[in-house]
Each structure stands twice: as C-alpha cells, then as structure tokens.
C-alpha cells in the first residue's frame, strides 16, 4: 500500500464539486483519492473524508436534509468519532450540519439570492486538522457559491463554539475586520466555518477547492488539503 494519504471524496446524487476536490487531492496535493458513492458504506481505508459541494438531492427539501440519510453517512459518523479528518465544503458542510456532526444550521442568504464571488475570511483557529498551515489571524480570500449559507445556532451553542475554538473562519474585509458588509450571507457573528471539539471535523461555506492553484489566480485553499495530508504523514 502506498504511503500517500488517501482522500475519500463522497458522491451524493447531485454532488457537483466531487471532481474539483479529486483534482486538488491528486493533481495538486499529490495524494491518492477515491470516489465513494453515497450508497456504499466502505470508506476504502481512507485517511481523510471530503464531503464536496453541490446540490445533493437537488437541495429540494432543504440543503443536506436528505443526504444525511445516505448509507455512507453512518460510516462517516463512525470515522469522525474515531478522530478521522472530515471536511465538508459548502453543500458538504450543510450535510454535516444536518447529520449533527457539526452544530447549528444554515438558512437562506439574507439577500435571498444565490451568491458567487470572492470573500475574505479571518482564520480564527489554526489548530484544526485542516487549518494547521495557516496562522491565527491570517486573512484568506476564497470564493463562495451558495444560496443557503446564513449560519445560525442557539445562543448556548454559539457561546460554546466561541469558547472552545469551534469557530474556524469568520467573514471579514481585506484588512481582517469582521464587518457586516463583508458578510455575504448574513451568517451569525460572521461565521464562515466551524469545527467539532476535536478539531477533526471541519465545515465551511467558502470553497478551498476553487482556489488551490496558480492558474486560477489563488492557491490559498490548497493548504486546507495539505494540512490534513501533512497531519497524516506525521503520524
């Protein structure tokens, strides 16, 4: 068996960014990757699990609401409980929220429109499996593309997130100030991404997979994949 880490890219019916994540993991980070169909329960001994963006089940009921019942989710839950690194991007984040692997929920953007553009985020926690290659306070530019990204959670959950380093990224302006006008969707406290207590499950609305190579004019997102790969290599 190769010693390169293996990424499992989960494919739900309606996943759109599965190939984008595969491209990053293999071509840009130099790891191995396997697609895992949502009906399968075997994660193929993966080292990292990625839930990619898209519109699982068309988001017809509520983003992620149906995908959480897919058979693969049970395996992912076990994998996460055992400390395995799980990253949910955009729709993948929505699925993790619906599945209860991360707390809170997302609502429709406050502008009531889909929004696709670059935003800035401040790195609030650089100790998760996926953010070790950033420094706390780093301002990173990443694209968003979503209709439902307006994160919210009950006050006690927000407090808990706040005090336990659960808030990984916050929307900010280019100078790192968390302002309302820098917030693309109305998310509470500018929350763009969160993690579980162990820092092994991370979800965010922006797309690191869309800013991982020079030809696209931005490579900052690749570090999230590299961070997980590096953590494993160092095991």
């Amino acid at each position: 068996m190769s010693d390169k880490p293996l990424f499992a890219i989960i494919v739900f019916p309606g996943s759109n960014c599965d190939q984008d994540c595969y491209h990053v993991a293999t071509e840009l980070v130099g790891c191995r990757a396997e697609y895992v169909w949502h009906r399968d329960t075997d994660l193929k001994d993966a080292d990292v699990v990625i839930l990619p963006g898209g519109f699982a089940y068309g988001d017809y009921l509520r983003a992620g609401a149906l995908a959480r019942f897919s058979p693969v989710m049970e395996s992912i839950t076990r994998f996460a409980m055992d400390g395995g690194p799980v990253l949910g991007i955009c729709n993948g984040f929505q699925v993790l929220l619906e599945a209860g692997l991360l707390p809170g929920a997302v609502r429709v953007n406050r502008g009531l429109r889909y929004v696709c553009k670059d935003v800035h985020m401040r790195v609030e926690n650089s100790s998760t499996v996926f953010t070790r290659l950033y420094e706390p306070g780093d301002v990173v530019r990443m694209p968003v593309g979503h209709m439902e990204g307006n994160y919210t959670a009950p006050p006690e959950t927000l407090t808990e997130l706040e005090y336990q380093g659960g808030i990984v990224f916050r929307y900010c302006d280019a100078e790192g100030r968390v302002t309302d006008s820098a917030n693309p969707n109305g998310a509470t406290a500018g929350i763009a991404g969160i993690s579980n207590r162990g820092g092994n499950v991370v979800g965010l609305m922006p797309h690191p997979d869309r800013c991982a190579e020079g030809v696209l004019g931005n490579e900052v997102g690749r570090r999230m994949f590299e961070s997980a790969a590096m953590a494993l290599a160092g095991r």
Binding site: P13, G14, C17, D20, Y114, V115, V215
Partner: protein, 737 residues
Amino acid sequence: MISAELIADHNLSEEEYSRILEILGREPNLVELGVFSAMWSEHCSYKSSRLHLRNLPTQGPRVIQGPGENAGIVDIGDGLAVAFKMESHNHPSYIEPYQGAATGVGGILRDVFTMGARPIGSLDSLRFGRLDAPRMRHLVDGVVRGIAGYGNCIGIPTVGGETTFHPGYDSNILVNVMNVGLVEKDRIFRGRAEGTGNPVVYAGSKTGRDGIHGATMASEEFVGDETRQKRPTVQVGDPFTEKLLMEACLELFRTDAVVGIQDMGAAGLTSSSFEMAGRAGSGLEIDLSKVPVRETGMTPYEILLSESQERMLLVARRDRLESVMEVFAKWDLAAVEIGRVTDSGRVVFFFEGRIVADLPAAPLSDRAPLYDRPRVPPRTIGSMGWERLPEPDDYGGCLRAILASPNVAEKSWIWTQYDHMVGTNTVERPGGDAALLRIKGSRKAIAVKSDVNPWFCACDPYRGAAIAVAEAARSIAATGARPLGVTDCLNFGSPERPEIMGQFEAAVRGLSDACRVLSIPVVSGNVSFYNETDGRPIPPTPTVGMVGLIDDVSRRVSVPFRSEGDVVGLLGSNRDELGASEFLRRIHGRDEGPCPEVDLDAERRLVELLARLASKGLLSSAHDVSDGGLAVALAECAMKGTAGAEISLEETIRPSALLFGETTGRVVITFAAGDEGAIREASAAEQVPFRAVGTVRGTRLSIRVSGGRLLVDEDVASLQEIWTTSFESAIAAADVL
C-alpha cells in the same frame, strides 16, 4: 375525419396538408396529424430559414461535426474537441420567466452532453425591454433566477454572456443560452438509430402533459393577453434529474453500450424518434404504452407531443441492454425499453396493442416544406441629423452618464447569482472580453463569447450581423485566443412578413460574409421566428456565440491596466461615427443610425495580430472597444485594474465621436515601454494601424485631444463607484414601480 378547422388548429396550411396526403397516399389520423404539425413547425423544420442558412460557411479543417446534429464539434488537438450550441427560449421565458429560462439551460445542456461531451461552461445572451416597461423587472429577475436555479444546481458554470435593454423587446424578451462541452474525439456520440433489432430505451423523467405543442407555440406570434393562457405549454425544469441523467449518460458513454442517443427536446418523442431514424435511414417501432407517464389517461397524441423535460431516447446494443439499465438504476433513473430499430424506413407507434401512427421516417424531414418566402430589402436607418448636434460642454459628465447606463454598467448583479466557478476551469471570470476555461491536463484554454448589438442590427441587419461576428472574434483575440467556430441564434419577427424575411436574409448574408473572411465556420445554430407581440416585431437579433482556443493559458491577456508606466496603445482607426451609439441615446435621447462601418479584412488582420502579440507575451492588457466607445473602453481598463492613465489622442474628428463613437475594429492594449518597437513592427507587418496614445499612471483617467485640450479628467475610483453600482440601483428602482 380531419376537418379544415383541425388542420388550422395544428398550424398547418392547406398546401402543407396536401403534401401530407401526397406523402401518405391517404388521410392521416389525428396522432399523425399532430406528428406532422410538430415536425413541420418552423421551430423543428426551419422551413422559412433553411434556404438561406445553406449559404453559411460550415466547413473548416477543425470541424468534426457541422450543423444538423444536437451540437457542432470542433477539434482542439490532443485528441480533444469542443461541442457547442446556442438556443433560444424566448417565448416560454416571456410567459413564465423562471421556468422558461431554466428549461432553456436544461435543453442546451442536453444537446451538448448527448454528443458525449461533458458541459464545461454556459453563456446567456439576454435582451430585455426598458426596465420601466410593464413586467420587465419581474422578467429580468425571473430569467436570471431561472438560469441560476438550473445551472447552479446541475453544477455547470455560467461564465459569460451579455444583457442589453432596448424598447424593441418590451413585450418580447430574448433568452439565448449557449453551452460548451469537452469531448474526446474518438468518443463522440450522435443521434442515430442504427442496427436492426437494437433496443430503443427511454430514460429520465416521466412524460406529463406539460409543453404539448411547445414547438408549435414557438412558431406563432403572441396576440394580446393570450400569453398568459399559454402557460401550460411552458415546461417545468428539474435540474436534479438532469444532473443524474447527465452523469448516467456520461458514464454510459465510457462503455460501448450506446449506439445513438438524442434528447427529447422540442416536439419530444416525436422529433427524437423521427430524427434518429431519419439520420440513420432506418425505421423504429415504439410502444407508447411502455412510456413512463406522470398522469393517468394520457393519450398517444399527448405522449408523442409532450415536451416534458429531462428525457432521453437512446438506442443500445442488443447484447449490452442490461448494463445500460444498470447504470440508469444506479442513478435512480427510470429507464424502459420501449421499442426497437427496424429496417423498414418507417416509424411505427403502437398503443395498447394497436398501431396509432405509421409514417415514413425520411420524408418527414426530407420533404418538409421549404419556403422561399417573399422579402423586401430591409430598411436601413441612417442619420437623422446628429452631425448638427452641438458638442457637449462636459465630456467627463457624458462618460459618467454612459457608465451608469444599464447597457454599459457592470452587471455583476446578474453574474454573481450564477455559479461561474464550479468545475475549477474558469481562468477568466465573467465581465472580461471573453471568458476563459482552461482544459485540465493540458496548457490550453478555450475562450467563449456571445455577442450582438441590436441597435446596429436595427439600423442595418447585414452590417449588424457582420459586426457581431467581428466583435466576438476581436473579444476572443483580445484574450490571446484564436477563434475556432461559431454557433448562432437568429431571433427575428414573423417570416410571413416580407420585411422580416428581408432582415433575415441580410443578417444571414452578414454572418456568412464575416465568417468567410475571418475563416470561422458556423457549426451549429438555431432560428427563432415569430418574436413579435401585437404585430410589433423585435429588432433583428442574430446572436453570435463563438469559441476560441489559446494554446498556452499562461499567455492569456485580460482587460485591466496592470503596471504603472506601461504604454497605452490603440490598434485600429478612429472614425467620425456616432450612429447607433450609447452616447446618442443616453446623452441626446436619440435612437438613430447609421450603423458603424465594418471592414472585415481589417478585422481579420487585427485578430491575427492580437493572437500573435499575445503568444509572444508582449501584451500587459487588451480590451476590445465596443459599447460606449473608446472612452468607456479606457475607463473599463482603469476601473478593473489598479491604475489610471494619461491619454492623448491626436485626431481631427469631432471629439464626441472620438470618445464615444462605436467605430469597429479597435482594441486598447498596454505593454512595457521597451516592447513598443516590437509591437509597432508586428502591427505594420499585419497592416494594422497602431499608435501609442498614453501611459498607465496615477489614479485618474485623463484624455486630451489635439492641441492638448483636456476633455476628460476623472477620478477612477469615482467612475468605478458609478459603474459598479448603477445597474443594481436601476433594478432596485424598477422594483418600486
């Protein structure tokens, strides 16, 4: 018994009905009449346009598939090719903008992926009426949401397009959608029903009563309030099902199980079955009782003519039917064997054990009516005296006013609603001269662009169409790419009016001439007639979609000024033209001609020069001069970049025409001062007029003319504020009405 009334209800003329009798040697039954009506509709048969379309150049060394298939295909080397096509969804979008536009996206995607191509980018070319016209805000919002709703969900980026507002579309908007896909040259699929005995498989959504006679509707004009009653003929889109269908088809195409495939688009099962048999010279037997239906009690007539979305008809290899069914099952899609291929040359439909239609396949298309409709030379609109207008006092004010016009203002309000990045190929995002999509696993990228200026076409359909081609080619070349092929979407009023046919003939001639001179073949297209309401036709609108190729994506060029101290150069000649300009409309409220001149030979040389300069890495930036003229082009370069410029134009023509005239064949470039000699030399070799006109510098845009007279001196950040906020404000203001 087929009554005269029934014939008229099917939009068939007496002459067409006699032709049916002649082909069949008997009277058709009602089902057969419905089939003829759909197949011979203007939408499916191109009966008024075919004669003229034959003149378009469709050949070229890179052409793999020309017109006549679901999409055209052009070779891009390394065993890869691009499939592309543009189509209109005008009538449905005017009736129900969200679903009309959404299903337009769905339809064009199916046209591309049925060829075996994975769609990699869409463009939308939208024509609306004035924002304060009745329902217009609702239409703009609905169309944009519809395109977003479908394209975003299925995960195909919408990377380009253009939107203009012209009173001629107040009651007949245009929604033209283009898609480009990537296909391996040796894995191209076509819509052919081959191999006697092979099974015919129906896959995808169930058939409902929606969209019955959609093709016929698209072949009629709107009268009064009728539009709203036509709502049931608009189909409803389901992008999630289409996503599954697309993935299932692409998975199947990697096997050898599929013989031929076609989307059930306009005229549904009818056109797909007849066209597939017609192309292969075969026959089909299809049992309509096996077609999955959404509602009980559907008649054979309804099943055949339904335009329910997200459905495919495919012919599989007999011995591989099982694996075909397995793939559809994996993607949770209904797939049913509904018939088989025969060698009878006839398409026979059964329902509940009896034959309900039995028609020869080939004559339905071969002997479809072909009309050389009467036409009169189109009226051209010249000057109504703009030459006598006084020159403005405040050129800077004019520039600001033009930048605020909905036609010129930046429209990120539209394209930030579209996912333009999914697929991670979008190297040049919307808002540039052309969008660029890199080809993974290579150094290449393709450039995509759609274009047409309705004011130019209204003044002179021939020139307007030729300029659309030239302008698209110039935009593509400004990114460093070379044009490869064209798809067109020809939107016109009723072909039964001689003046409309005159416009159509002139526009097609303009397209042909331009494509010939520029050596860009037309590989696919679509005609949309009857774009009129209550007898008022739209301006002639021949939308051009173009695809280009750049061999080394690192050599791409974009619009923004890049480096302080770069030299600003102008390629092409300035002329004393103001006709059909945004300046005349916005500043003087005058909509008059003439359409600017076009010199196709000069355009060809300019395109060649740009590709050459880019490939040598000599350009820092490049931007085509179009809507709003030279001042707007310069402002755009500055507003998108980080620097201003000091410009000095030594010209004797009137300053307003110099700054705001929409003279064709011009491109603003910037380059390092040390490269001026090389650029001068290359321009001379291509006989393209070139002059250095200024320097990238500071935070203001200043433009001087002869004698050092300062005409424009504006803070770039303030211009940018106007340019980037005006469109959203205009939309918000329209909301109040």
